[in-house]
Each structure stands twice: as C-alpha cells, then as structure tokens.
C-alpha cells in the first residue's frame, strides 16, 4: 500500500511544525481512503482556515480551501449539487466550533452525507497560540496570561445533541483508530463527526507543561480510555474514545431526491 499516491508531492514540504499531530491525522486519513479504494476523481476535500485546514492542499483530491469556519457551508453546496461525490472536511477546533459553530450544528441537524474531521489541539496555532472554545479552564495561552476562565465544549455531546448520525473520538496517539473511524465515517450514509485530539507542542504543550510531542502523545495514552471500559469506572475523569453513535437516519441529499420526485409528479 502506498499512500503517497494521494499526496501532491509538488507542494511539500508542509507548513506544520515538527511534532505536530496533524501529519499523523493526514497519514491515517489517507490509509482509510486507500482501504476504501475511493476513486480520487470522486473525492472532494473542503477545509476552512487554520493549521489543520492546510491539509486540503496536500492531498490529490478536488480540494477547496475556504474561509475560516465555513468549510461545512461550502461542502453542503458541493454535496447537494453533486451527491455522488465523497466529501471530507478537516477542521480545527476553533474553525469548526467557534467561528464555524453555527454551520457545524446545522450540518449535524440536516444529516447531510459529509465527513467532518475535527482536529482538536485546543488552541489557535496558526495565529500564535490563543485559547479556543475547546481549551477549557485553567489553560495558559497568548490571550489568557492569567489562565482561561472559559469553559469548553464537548464536541461529542454537541454533535449528538445536534443530530449527527455517526460520532467518534480518538487521538493522534491511537493512530490505527484514526484509520478505522475515518473509514467508518466515510462509509456512513449521513453526517459523521470524527474528533481527533491532536497535539500542538509549539503553542499548547509548551505553555501548559505538557512537554514535547512525545510526552503529549504519551498523555493521550494515559488520559483516554475506550468507551465503557473498567478504567472509566475507576477514573471518571478519563476521556472516552470510540464510536458514540452509528445509526441510520434519513440523509439530506437522498431526501431531496425524493422531494424532486414528488414535485415532478404533482
């Protein structure tokens, strides 16, 4: 298996810092695509703005690098106009859930067949390490010298409450899970959310005593556990990994095709 057939090598080297988790996500995302044998001409990657969003430039799919927070809005137009295309939307945490929060919940609600990948590093990396809505309290960032007082979103609860029909979470440490969950998400006929905790040693780790990339990855091993595990019973503060929802519900483009049938018959 050679994932480099999916890369635009002409545009390397990439912009990410040494130790960034986003490269691990890219690698394992492409493994998922490869395992599914999706025709590259039918793959569209739509991203917003931020470190994570640069991923779209490096892949040899149709790629649309859009506006901060708006990836899902553009992707909705791509998918609705050409439902045969497979559309994948990598986003950062601030991109998806601060400036793009409204588009995110409405894409969940419509259950349109898009795959949203939230690469959650709990920080605005590209702009120099400001706190995000996923940072949580007590975090040191360039806009929180006295540490954050803002509480964080839980992406999983938000996605479930908003109506996403496939919801999963893993981390950059658990790279095989990334491939598995993205593969499941791409095959899922509805709106899917895969949250991937991805380390930012440059801005998050350094300011919050989490060490370098290796130590941050070790932390993902220690502070997460599989859904419903014994460890979770003993240590409720552990973050759960796994598939939180995988259910079939009416998909938006399919429903619209039915609506067209009804309109043309009446």
């Amino acid at each position: 298996m050679a994932i480099d057939q999916y890369l635009r090598k002409r545009f390397f080297p990439h912009i990410w810092c040494a130790g960034c988790g986003h490269g691990i996500v890219l690698n394992n995302m492409l493994r998922a695509v490869d395992q599914l044998q999706v025709n590259q001409n039918e793959m569209v990657m739509v991203s917003g703005i931020g470190c994570s969003s640069r991923i779209s430039g490096y892949v040899d799919f149709h790629s649309l690098h859009t506006l901060h927070g708006r990836a899902l809005a553009f992707a909705t137009g791509v998918k609705m106009s050409q439902p045969n295309l497979t559309v994948i939307c990598p986003m950062g945490d601030g991109d998806a859930l601060a400036i793009g929060g409204n588009h995110f919940i409405h894409a969940c609600r419509r259950n349109i067949d898009l795959t949203a990948i939230v690469m959650n590093n709990r920080i605005y990396g590209m702009t120099g390490g400001q706190f995000s809505p996923l940072s949580g309290t007590g975090i040191s960032a360039t806009t929180s010298p006295q540490k954050t007082i803002d509480r964080e979103f839980d992406i999983i609860s938000l996605s479930l409450a908003s109506g996403a029909t496939f919801v999963a979470r893993t981390t950059a440490y658990h790279h095989k899970e990334i491939t598995t969950y993205i593969k499941e998400a791409l095959q899922h006929p509805g709106f899917s959310v895969v949250e991937i905790l991805s380390q930012c040693p440059t801005h998050f780790g350094r300011r919050n005593q989490q060490g370098d990339a290796t130590e941050m990855l070790q932390l993902y091993r220690q502070n997460t556990t599989s859904i419903g595990s014994e460890a979770k019973q003993k240590q409720p503060e552990l973050i759960e990994r796994g598939i939180f929802r995988q259910e079939i519900a009416p998909e938006y483009c399919a429903e619209y095709a039915e609506l067209i049938n009804r309109a043309q018959q009446s």
Binding site: N41, S63, T66, F74, G77, Q82, N102, H103, H106
Partner: protein
Amino acid sequence: MRQRTEFIQGNEACVHAALYAGLDFFAGYPITPSSEITEHMSAQLPRIGGRFLQMEDEISSLCSIIGASLTGHKVMTATSGPGFSLMQEALGFAVMTEIPCVIADVQRGGPSTGLPTHGSQGDVYQARWGTQGDHAIISLTASNHQDLFAMTVEAFNMAETFRTPVVLLLDEITAHMREPLTLPQEGEIPIIERLRTSVPEGVDYHPYLPREDGRLPMSDFGGKHRYNVTGLYHDMWGFPTTDPNVIHGLIHHLMDKIENHAHEITRYREYYLDDAHTVLISYGCSARTALHVVTSRRKRGEKLGLLELQSLWPFPAELVRAKCEHARYILVVEMNMGQVVHEVKKAVLDPERVYLANRVDGEFITPTDVRNIMRLIHGRGV
C-alpha cells in the same frame, strides 16, 4: 407562438429570468424584501430537477452556492442589505477564486435593520466596496420587470463569461411592485455557458493560468482534473504563494479582466438625450420617477433627457461623460444620501454642474420631489 404575459412582482420576474438563464442551484435565508425570490425558488427548482437549500444564514447561503458552482452549476442567492453585509466575506472569496455566482440584493432602508419594508438604493457602494481589499465587481440594476428579466439573464451571462460574482442590485419598490412581464421565448435572449477546459485527462491542467485573452477555462469538481482552490493568493496550480511576482500578476488579472471590459459590460437606456439641456441620471426604481419628469416636461417643450444606468459597476464613466457633454446641468436621481452622484461628479468635466435629487425617508421619490430640486437649481424656490 403566442407570448405569455404575467402580472407579477419584480421578485418573481427575477426567478423566471434566473431559470431562463439556466440556474439550477439556489440557496438563501429569509429576509424582507427578497423572501419571495427564495420562496418561488423553493417551488420551481425541484420541478426542473434543480436544488434549493434554505441555509442557516446568509453567510452559508453564499458559501454553499460557491461550492455548487464549482461542480459546474449555475447558482444564485438572494438577500437584502443586512444579509448582503454578512455575505461580504464569501463575496471576496468568489472574487479571489474566480467562481461564477449571482447575488441579488433587494435593497431596503439602512443602515442596520433599518427599514425592512421600504425602498432604498443605499447599497450601491456596499456592492462595490463591501468586501475588503482591491477588487473589481460587476453590478447590474433595472427599473421595470422587462428590464429586470433581461438584466438577471445578463447577470448570469456575465458571471460565467468573466468568472466573477455579479451583484444584481434590485430595490424593494421594483421587487414588490406588480406589472406585466412578457416572458421572452427560448433563444430570444442569448444564454452563455462557462468556458470549460479542453485539456485531456492525464495532462497537467493549470486552473489559474489565464489564456492570452485573460480568460480561465474551468474544470468541474468531480471531473477529470483535480486541483486546489484557495482564497489565499495562489499560483497557476491554485496553490498558496507569497511570491511577489505572482501576487502582482494575480491582483492585476482580477482587476483587468473586468475593468478592461467595461465597455462590454455597460448597459443603459437613454431618453431624449440628443438635444437635452438638462440631463437626469438615474437607475432602478428612481428611474421611473425620473422618466416621468422628463416625459412630462418634454410635452411642454422643455429639453430634458434621461440616462438610465443599468450597469453601475464598473461605473460607466466614459458613457456618462459623453452623454453629459452638452448638458447645462446634470441631476442625479437616487434614493440615498448620494452615491452614484459622486461617481457622476468624478466622470464629468465640470462637477459643479452635478446636483442630487434624492429621498431617504422610506417613501418612493416623486416627480414633485425632483421638480422641487430643479426649481431650486433655477433659483425659483420651491
């Protein structure tokens, strides 16, 4: 074949025209006074196998149609001033990425929520300069349903020809007014399709390398060429760059492809201009009032003429200068605090002769309003 005439609102005329032009994808968000466009689209599009989306806001409405345009569809959204403000970010994206789309802004009183149910022409400069950074834009307008139909079709044609967003500047008065529209027959108004690349599969396609004539053939997303699209300054591959030469070339290309074709884009009507001592310049709903004044004064032997602008951007400065050359004075009739009047002053040789006849209280400007300004200019008081 017998022509079909309908007695309808301007907003409905706009929908008829968009479908005539080949629109098959529309996204919108409810806002007065443009909602009828969105409502009629929701009914019409599924019947022809097209797609309609009601999005969560105006931001996503414009973003989603840009996505749909990339897959090869003719697309449109409709809104009013506050929604148009929200669209400015994505409008700039469409300018930068050169993706064809049509945005109808049915103007109402502003700023802010302003006067939702009353007419205004306050968005002329928002259409021109609402999004940040240097750029060129095309904006069309109309004063009656027959012209509104034609200008809507032209908006699609120009969007596809010049690979640009086109702003259709309508107003509450024309949009909600009912008058007869004779539907043009198929083929009566030419329909232009976008230029698509002839580069075969497997051969490098450069999505952002202009041909010698400045045009960029497109390739549909989902088709045989995979390429990158970004709102960042980009090279011929569509990949981000900070190379000063490439940046210089791109911004000049974005300006020149429209500004150098201002003659092709210019649309207008003229009434009694040949021997006019007084030239009225107007557009949209206000042009109806201006035409009434000119026609009634002509019956009394007064040498008034009207230049009705149907394209506002790029501003037809040369046309205005030529048509006003022999005028003793020029009166710009518009429903704002003076927007087009500034462009007219810049265009003519003697800006001291340019006056503004306006009305900004939400009521439609009347012939009496215009006549009163003319009396003042003549030093006769009101």
